[in-house]
Symmetry: C2
Subunit: 237 residues, 2 copies
Amino acid sequence: MKKKYIEIYHTLVEDIQKGEYLSGETLPSEHELSSRFHTSRETIRKALNLLSHNGYIQKVRGKGSVVLDRDKFEFPVSGLTSFKELSERLGQSFRTHVHELTLVKEAKICRQLNCPAGASLWRVIRAREIGGERIILDKDYIRQDLVPELTKEIVQHSLYNYIENELELDISFAKKEIVVEPVTEEDEVFLDLKGHHQVVVIRSYVYLADTTAFQFTESRHRPDKFQFVDFARRTKG
Amino acid sequence: MKKKYIEIYHTLVEDIQKGEYLSGETLPSEHELSSRFHTSRETIRKALNLLSHNGYIQKVRGKGSVVLDRDKFEFPVSGLTSFKELSERLGQSFRTHVHELTLVKEAKICRQLNCPAGASLWRVIRAREIGGERIILDKDYIRQDLVPELTKEIVQHSLYNYIENELELDISFAKKEIVVEPVTEEDEVFLDLKGHHQVVVIRSYVYLADTTAFQFTESRHRPDKFQFVDFARRTKG
DNA sequence: GATTATAATTTGTATATACATGTTTTGCAA
DNA sequence: TTGCAAAACATGTATATACAAATTATAATC
């Protein structure tokens, strides 16, 4: 099946990004959109709810779907955006240094990933260089029973691309934490810290669509180069 | 109107929090829930989508709604949680020091809030003390045309409570940014920095349901006491 | 012309049906 | 007992209708 409402969502996102609808303006009414896309109003509403959820529009009862100004948050470290997408969006030169790609057994991480204590995990350690400076250190632990093979080429190119497109694993959600911590010896070795004594640490547990815990990631950023941008909707009730 | 699906959402959240459904288990099927709540399946689905969106469940096709383990992220600085909710959840003693409550005209902030350049803004500066240490400095700019009156009591007690419950303004969404910056003289004066030379800065633009930009907030945290926890769903397409 | 009442427009909620798609269970057959 | 096919079950998508509630446009009245 094609999932009409997803198609309509993408069409409308493109239209907004092309400037067809400016911020402050309203989209065509649900009724008009449904005749324009030859579909029912409920299907249009599903597409509009996606737009609303992702911060493209605000629906105002009796008025319409008002287009929001997304200019102020064009840096989505948010969501589950990967390093590759990120640096491409920045338009800066980037490199990835693979420092480790090994199989390990770490009972503590296994327990948090809900896999057997003796299970093998891939440990991937990569330094990210942007604009000539190594500013991010990524430490990944991935269940080997779900990803049997990993090569240096894969982790250097795009791990997520391999996992989602080659292995066709359905990455669905993540729990993440952002804190600030003192630098470790590892940070000193692999990063250009420029005198900084603390790093911003993003720890994530990544889950597949079937709720399988899949990966634990620790992303360590030099504080002056760190930015997290988010769109948050208030849950009513 | 009562909004059945909101009611059902809250009922199910309470049930999950009471441990009626354990993580890993599935909720009753949509069909069973609809007969249990005497409503249609679509209404149940709206409630379940809210649960899914807020990280309580993961819907798995053909299987059911699997309850997720929320233990690992019980510290939602996320969303738009206010300081009061936050410290109460922490269960620690807290105090608010009001250092400033004045009307100012700041063209730059006015422009970003889309209000006339000459408009008056409330500037509220508060230091937050938790466990005997002043670790958060909140600087708020609020449009006076939307909030005509503010007193020291209000900003000391709960600003959001006043705005939402007394003025009945409908706070709907926010754009926020998290960065790390050097401490300012102001930070030195109002916070117990304990030798830290950087603070975590959360800048937020807060909007009402009718898309009116309403408030700009800068929340400055001592890095060792800062934590941001989030549940992020991957947008498909 | 200004104010007010009415109608039209637009989004929100609730319900119903049909069929698609993925999972689990059941039952039959080898 | 094992293996496979079919049925039962669960969620996903698409469509339709009716009414509620908020806003905007229109018309009527003073």
